[in-house]
Symmetry: C2
Subunit: 350 residues, 2 copies
């Protein structure tokens, strides 16, 4: 009998549901899972009842009974940078396509153990880390995961050697940029905000030094770096402040490489406000290839992190590890970045 539409029946369990359709729980369960042959009439009744009640079996009970949790814990440093958000978004999409649910949590420094315990209590099938984390803390979490046989993957942070990692090849990215600028005649490079303790920045500096050296230049003479205490590195002001320092330095570098797009845009605008012209008087390269690159004239050339590709690889690794945890560890995969030229670089001037 169909439920009276005016007062819908609320069904909370297969037991209630079975009573509602007048069959046993076993039969209902088989119907729900497509096992065994039901009498067509029973099948119809069950279908109609699902429509009428909107009953959904309790996922927790299913999991207890042996169904995989189909959950992956995702630990984020924060939601503050567009790049981090793009990564988690692409990852969640990819996991969903693979039938996995991403549980996204921000990891509070010092409280990561609690979050990981929560993930473990939910019996997640793997854990992903996105962003910068304190190395010792991250290492401790990975040790715990290992002990419980839970696979992990670190995206774009390379501080922990034992960790399975997929990350942008930042060394290569910077070497590519330097080589390209060198081909345009640039010999003096200004580095904007490329310092600090992050492994990601260290990798980029390695790439720059290596390329400069291989091109036959003296790093000490050809590289000039300014940094500055600033609350946030992704503010335009930061770039402006650094640009001001370079304005006072002679001989000024002809090409600038910034820690990120915000800094590059801030510096570019500051240079323009000081009367310099891009790319006639200087070249500028950002990092991350964000929306704001389109904001300057000319638009900002930048390094794209290839986030879609990174997410694709991450999902592939995770699904493989869930099926059968890697025996050879750690796994390190590098993603080749892509330089996007929009006109803010050009031949070195006089």
């Amino acid at each position: 009998m169909p439920a009276r539409p005016t007062q819908p029946v609320l069904i909370r369990s297969t037991a209630e549901f079975a009573r509602y359709v007048g069959l046993s729980r076993s039969t209902v369960s088989r119907a729900l899972n497509g096992h065994g042959d039901l009498r067509p009439k029973s099948m119809e009744r069950i279908q109609a009842a699902i429509q009428a009640t909107g009953f959904t079996p309790n996922a927790h009970a299913l999991h207890l009974r042996g169904r995989r949790s189909a959950m992956v814990g995702v630990c984020m440093e924060n939601f503050l940078t567009p790049t981090a958000v793009a990564k988690v978004s692409a990852l969640q999409q990819g996991l969903r396509d693979a039938g996995l649910v991403a549980l996204i949590e921000v990891l509070e420094p010092g409280a990561s153990q609690k979050t990981l315990e929560h993930f473990r209590s939910l019996r997640v099938e793997a854990v992903v880390f996105i962003g910068h984390f304190e190395t010792a803390e991250l290492a401790a979490r990975i040790t715990e995961l290992d002990r419980h046989g839970t696979p992990h993957l670190v995206i774009d942070s390379v501080g922990v050697r034992r960790a399975n990692t997929v990350s942008l090849d930042r060394t290569q990215a910077m070497a590519d940029v330097v080589t390209r600028l060198h081909a345009l005649g640039h010999r003096r490079f200004g580095l904007l905000g490329l310092s600090g303790n992050f492994q990601t920045v260290a990798d980029r500096l390695t790439g720059i030094h290596r390329a400069v050296t291989e091109l036959g230049l003296d790093p000490a003479a050809s590289l000039l770096a300014y940094d500055h205490l600033h609350a946030r590195r992704d503010h335009f002001e930061y770039g402006a402040v650094l640009a001001q320092e370079f304005l006072q330095h002679a001989p000024r570098p002809t090409a600038f490489i910034a820690v990120n797009d915000e800094t590059a845009v801030g510096a570019l605008l500051h240079f323009q406000a000081a009367g310099l012209s891009v790319p006639r008087d200087f070249s500028m390269v950002g990092f991350n290839n964000q929306n704001i690159c389109l904001m300057t004239r000319p638009a900002l050339s930048s390094v794209d992190q290839q986030i879609a590709e990174t997410a694709r690889i991450a999902v592939e690794i995770l699904t493989r590890q869930i099926a059968r945890p890697f025996t050879t560890r750690p796994l390190h995969r590098l993603v080749r970045p892509k330089f996007v030229d929009r006109g803010s670089i050009g031949p070195a001037g006089a």
Copy 2:
């Protein structure tokens, strides 16, 4: 006995754990939950074993046994706008502080039912919607939630009248802006991209018209709106294209109100490139008060959505509803926006 550190014991259930410490499951369970008095020595053994094994009770089993799921489903339109990301981030933080876990999912248009079913199968205690959704689809999902007695809350989308809502008072926001500009002597207002079918935009237009009328102006004469087909409204180009249209129109408005910060920045830069000066020749107001407001000179004045306040109210409503679902429906709460002046508005020129 402590586990040998070289080969840690992997414990997956209270049964295994009880065997490991040599007590019954009941006793272990009581210890874990702080019920009943254990013999100090038993307690010690259990504590040590937890340290040694890192055992965490299965959350699914706990929930089956009656524990609340402590989960709230959060449906997002996407992760593409900084504002939406800021909202979900603040909400997740607030929910966490309230002991609730936010399950964040992007709702694919047309596939929202599947996601909601998933949330229901996990027995979430409430569902939140953040962003723009197709009205009929959202209404259908809310009907289903109602039927199952699951509370919901819609943040910042006001298309569905029956929905519980907390949203920015956009009407008031725009009335405030117009009034402020009017006080600076402006009588002709240019609207950049304020059109389309979104209820949020409609509310903003209502506020603008109401204020203009109350100030004794003729809306038809004082308001000039341009819009343009553009792939994405949060690109700077969009603002530049609109600004170009206004440049060709005489008499030109003296104050501009943009649909968002990106459009405002794009327009402001375009005007500046055309030789106009801010705020001498025109005033410009953005919306959302994002980071990019700091990118122009002068920096962009904008309307702040007061996201922290919105999240605070949302968490309060949700926790109250979870404790006891509202009997009076729908609930509508408005958040008062805040105008942030950074210098891109000034007295109307000649």
